[in-house]
Symmetry: C2
């Protein structure tokens, strides 16, 4: 096996290095490693630290020749379970595969950690180990969703149930940097999720955040308030919201897509005519399914920490996990952390004093 167990030094960004928790998620170690192999083929410069049981990892290297040549193995048998509470998981920050992957980012031994494990545990460990960046009060969970046009970045998807105006502005800055990095946009269009487009709609927090963003000098185009039905239209690149509404929107969109898919399947089975129709339409329906496949959009990132942590969905398959590793790769190469730091510094230097005037 070509894998080295000695530590590799992290160089700027030419050789992106990902600390991978091979034990997280439903897929299991072989699929996580197969996904890393796919990512290694896609990004030849990518290197890995694999955190998990060494013997099983080494046995799997037979099927992952590229990975075995570009990975170090860091042994541990301790695994954070899906049922573990964040507080239980935190105690195993130094021993579990998930905790060690995050620790590697903290210690400068990897550029990003990727795990498909317990989201609550990952959030707690990442926040505890990496802490928030200067100027960021709370990290946010961001991901891409499919639309009629290009993907849209949505945040926060569930890290913070309640947010104030400052949090929302910070999310907008982070989301724009994310979209510039991952979607390759120069000045992404940013909208605040609300229950109406008029300036008077919604909560005080939303109105204050809109006032701040309207007056800010940032590499984005602030489009004001957007409603939930605009998420899928593709005319906004970044949707900013608190973690409660963001999670509700994400899950509702998933559920509705599933509903339509279920109805469609039922409809095509209803008569012999529609069965013939299905036969001819298979390629179209397959394209639809591929477009909406959560695996094609897998990889949510915790933005706002001193280090990158990417969460792969627990139910993601090999393709999905490879996609999440790809997101981590793009964020490393695109130096998303530096972009956020620069934009925050710029925002503060030219901070609109609109809220100060009203005594806030």
């Amino acid at each position: 096996m070509g894998a080295r167990t000695d530590s590799m030094t992290v160089k700027p960004v030419n050789n992106p290095l990902i600390a991978l928790d091979v034990m997280g998620g439903d897929a299991g170690l072989p699929d996580v490693m197969a996904a890393a192999e796919v990512a290694s083929e896609r990004y030849p410069a990518l290197r890995f630290r694999l955190h998990g049981p060494e013997a099983r990892i080494r046995a799997e290297f037979v099927r992952c020749p590229r990975l075995s040549a570009s990975a170090v193995v860091v042994h541990t048998d301790d695994v954070v379970l899906g049922t573990d509470r964040p507080s239980q998981a935190l105690r195993r920050s130094r021993t579990s595969s998930m905790g060690m992957a995050i620790q590697a980012v903290k210690d400068g031994e990897a550029h990003a950690a990727v795990s498909a494990g317990n989201t609550g545990a990952l959030m707690a460990m990442a926040l505890f180990a990496l802490r928030t960046m200067p100027g960021i009060d709370r990290p946010a969970l961001a991901a891409l969703l499919p639309t009629l046009k290009n993907d849209v970045a949505v945040l926060d998807l569930g890290a913070n149930t309640e947010c104030d105006a400052e949090n929302l502005v910070q999310f907008a800055v982070m989301g724009a940097a994310f979209a510039r990095t991952v979607l390759g946009l120069e000045t992404p269009r940013v909208g605040l999720l609300n229950i109406g487009e008029e300036e008077l709609k919604g909560t005080d927090e939303l109105r204050d955040a809109a006032t701040l963003l309207r007056g800010a000098r940032l590499p984005m185009r602030f489009e004001g308030f957007v409603e939930g039905d605009k998420i899928g239209q593709g005319d906004i690149d970044v949707i900013v919201t608190d973690g409660f509404s963001g999670n509700i929107a994400l899950k509702t969109a998933e559920g509705t897509a599933k509903l339509v898919n279920g109805l469609l399947r039922h409809a095509f089975r209803s008569t012999w005519l529609t069965r013939i129709g299905y036969f001819f339409s298979r390629s179209a329906l397959q394209a639809l399914r591929t477009h909406l496949d959560p695996n094609a959009h897998n990889g949510a990132v915790f933005l706002g920490l001193n280090g990158l942590v990417v969460k792969s969905h627990g139910s993601a398959n090999v393709r999905g996990i490879a996609n999440a590793i790809g997101v981590a790769h793009d964020l490393i190469i695109g130096r998303v952390g530096d972009r956020i730091a620069d934009d925050l510094a710029n925002f503060r230097a030219h901070r609109p004093d609109v809220l100060a005037e009203t005594g806030k």
Copy 2:
């Protein structure tokens, strides 16, 4: 014309009487009246008060023979516009077609008001004229949404951006009464929309509301917290949430259905093979569209007021408006107000003292 302009006395519920704002919404007076004609055919006992310009209403009676025989006309030329602010509309509570329809409910001259006009104006006027029922702090906007199985009732859909635990409990009581009336269920399954199913998830308000509902004696089965992806599954009959999240969920579901529909149309146009497929599949796709058609679920009701007010969607067609009138009919016949009052009294008599113990 057979219509009488004299006032009819409201009798209990044998002859349900609806005050209809013929001027609200995008459809226009002819479509609103055509919808009332459809509803009159469907419910022969139904009678109407038509609020709007008398000459135009009378001219339209030619095409609405049943309606003309079961309606009184109450003339007004004053119309609340979609662009009017609630505060502007309130000043025309006595003169506008919308305001007069609500006033008729207040004065006991109709059992319910139906309008497709400006939602904000309708909410403000209805709350101002009818006030909340004893035991209800805030009214909620409720409607039915399609699922894989039976429809689900969701509330609040946007009347209250922020809600406390008491509000949510009252919404649950009202939503259950709504589901029993409109869906014909004896003990509807009620869930609180949250970002996870575990008891510790979400806000204090949600956890307190769950505690109260778990201990309450009500004609419902409380199923705890449900996530957004469960809305479309059909395993819960009533989804309770604050107006902000409810509106986000509703609009996101609408947007996602539109997204899938758009992708589907695009997919079927992609090759000659899929075009053939479309030809054979038309009936299946039509059935899908009918199942998801917002017009088939049109008619949101303001629950918790001393009188019934039903809001038809501004963009509803004749079928949609007829459906909203049908919702009003069912709520009158089912005496939803009495059910809510009974359930509230019962809840208060056996109110769980769980929150009192924690000093709340």
